[in-house]
Amino acid sequence: MLRIFHKDETNTNKKILNSMYALRARVFGERLKWQVEITDGYEKDYFDEIDPLYVVYLDANENVIATFRLLPTTGPTMLRDIFSRCLPSGMDIKSPLIWESTRFAVDSEFVKNYGDNGLSRITGEMLSALIQIGVSAGLTHIVTVIDVRMEKILLRAGCPVDRLADPVDYGGTKTLAILMECTEEWVSLIQQKNKIGISCVNEQYKTLIAA
């Protein structure tokens, strides 16, 4: 089940947040060997402190098996503050109509069923949700910094991928910034290509905006 939330004072989502930090530590630290900071099995960074919007996929026991987070590019972004070499020099992405998606992770251990395109249904649902959130918020694009491995996944999933520049090296990883256009057409295309229903996503938006 998909869940969209942001941190709140009452800590209602604490268990889910911790499960998400743990998943990120396994995927980015152990599996992909990215240079991320891991404390007590949790991967957290500055951008978790500035109230991003989280999207997670939960299993029946409310363990997080897939995740990403979103922040408006009008505020601090990873692209500007960490991965600025991914942009042509002098360029900055800062628009009320572009949000940045970061820390996209899917737990390969839990995902056993793969579709025709070699991707899991959960990956498809997460990507469809990503673009759909953009449409709901009136955005034109999602910007995201990814590695070439992820770019292939996005293309296979039928996502709109528009390179801002050629990949550059960050700690041995070929890294690039891309724009993803947010339209209803792209949402249905991703849903068709990954054979996912529309209903599973829509329900979640009611808590944020009755989309």
Partner: protein, 242 residues
């Protein structure tokens, strides 16, 4: 910012509200109100990087009676828009807010009496200085019409909300970015390019030569100081030029 900080900031500081009404900024809100045929618009900024007596900055088309009522009744403490908006980034439809307490129901009833619409949308804003703000609009409309209207205006509102925020900062001496202007033809070409059209296709659509389209695209690329059209589109969107 945590809710409790915000609440103490707003609630504990009734005297210290910084309600700024220089005609210039207010006329922008009034013009937007008329443009979209809205009942009212309200802007609320928190921790703006400007010199003021309070970290709360309010600018609104609401009647002064309603603003005073809201402040003296400490409605900021129970207002679900404040409650949900300042930590989130998704626009909030007032319809989707929980109105489960008597006080909240009363707040919305009183707001209506003071001329606010039955439908509302609040757009959270985040700035590079770590500041947050909220741009809210409201209008009288049936649920059915509202759904359509909201979908129609949300993108434009996102731009207006952010531009208004930027303007407040600029008027208070905070530099944001330099002005770039594009010609109408350059804008048209970039707009079609942003929809994935090739120069040849754009030429057919606009009824001009492909070489002319390429010229306009090249020209806008140089104005925007970028290397390719994708970057030009991204930058033009970022500066809300198209």
């Amino acid at each position: 910012m945590l809710h409790s900080d915000l609440f103490s900031e707003l609630a504990g500081n009734n005297e210290g509200y910084f309600i700024d009404n220089p005609n210039d900024d207010l006329s922008v809100l009034k013009a937007l109100k008329d443009k979209f045929s809205l009942n009212h618009i309200a802007y609320l900024g928190i921790n703006l990087p400007i010199k003021s007596d309070s970290s709360t900055y309010i600018m609104t088309t609401y009647s002064s009676e309603w603003v005073e009522r809201y402040v003296t009744q400490n409605y900021v403490k129970i207002d679900p828009v404040i409650n949900y908006g300042f930590q989130g980034i998704m626009p909030i439809d007032w319809k989707s807010l929980p109105k489960n307490s008597k006080k909240v129901v009363q707040l919305f009833a009183e707001a209506k009496e003071h001329g606010l619409g039955n439908q509302g949308l609040s757009i959270p804003i985040r700035g590079v200085h770590g500041e947050t703000a909220m741009f809210s609009v409201n209008v009288d409309m049936s649920d059915k019409d509202w759904l359509h209207f909201r979908k129609q205006i949300i993108r434009e509102l996102q731009i207006h909300a952010y531009n208004f925020h930027t303007k407040i900062l600029e008027n208070n001496g905070v530099q944001n970015f330099k002005k770039i202007s594009l010609s109408d033809r350059e804008k048209e070409c970039l707009l079609w390019a942003s929809k994935g059209k090739t120069a040849w296709e754009i030429a057919s659509i606009l009824g001009i030569k492909t070489t002319t389209v390429n010229f306009f695209l090249e020209h806008s690329r140089s104005k925007l100081d970028v290397l390719n059209t994708t970057q030009a589109v991204a930058k033009a969107i970022r500066y809300a030029l198209i």
